[in-house]
Symmetry: C2
DNA sequence: TACACCTATTCAATATTCTGAATGTAAATC
DNA sequence: GATTTACATTCAGAATATTGAATAGGTGTA
């Protein structure tokens, strides 16, 4: 006899558009919160709330690196389910202009120059 | 871009233990409401409420035959999802003593005799 | 140490879901 | 036509989920 309560709890965690968007982002591999914030255009606290629900359902896990927190999908079967739902997974997440994390900064040299080199000439 | 709202709505319909039980019953083929009532041990009105939610989500469809209503799973992909969740599907639903529908009655001759033939000897 | 940055948590107001009870409806039977 | 049978719908109170606002916590940096 299957555990209908446990299954229902899993589906409950999945039954939310923003949580599905987050999982969709995580299909390409681990992602930090600030990246999700930039990609989804939602406030950070809101995303953290949804991440907590996904974490408590056992769908994702997290890892701290400096002051960032990276999340990833825990189980292979979740990835397969998302493939069924959304089609084949993207190999890589795009770098986002609005995302301040090191990965995105490295891929966005224009943004890097403004913060790490000299001011624009107009200011002189 | 996937339709996250539509997917979330689907999961919402699945996110309930009794609704999952109903779908699990329907894996073996179409089933009438009184059969579900006997199999799940729930009141009829309650089951009808859950059936309505599954119907509105497009997961099941129904057919009237006399005063009974038979339900079945609409899409093949739903059956595959249930297989993933619960393992391979049973080929047939068992006949239930408590179910008055013709199919179960035919498979339960003892029950049949009581209602269609003479009273037990003890009553004479 | 003080500060800025990135993330997590708590709180409260609102919205939605759940579930029992009562009632409605349509088909078959008497 | 009245009754029974099988199922559907409506209603209301309780429980739960949603989401914005405020704030707390930990980590790197000046």
């Amino acid at each position: 006899m299957p555990d209908f309560d446990a299954c229902a709890a899993l589906f409950k965690a999945l039954a939310h558009p923003v949580r599905l968007q987050i999982l969709s982002l995580l299909r390409a591999g681990e992602v930090c919160v600030c990246h999700m914030e930039a990609a989804l255009g939602r406030r950070q606290a809101y995303i953290s709330q949804q991440l907590m629900i996904l974490r408590e359902a056992g769908l994702i896990d997290s890892r701290k690196e400096g002051r960032q927190v990276f999340y990833w999908i825990t189980e292979e079967r979740t990835l397969r389910l998302l493939d069924d739902l959304f089609g084949p997974a993207p190999v890589e997440n795009p770098a986002l202009e609005a995302c301040p994390c090191p990965r995105c900064a490295a891929a966005n040299p224009s943004t890097l120059r403004l913060s790490e080199e000299e001011e624009p000439y107009a200011h002189h």
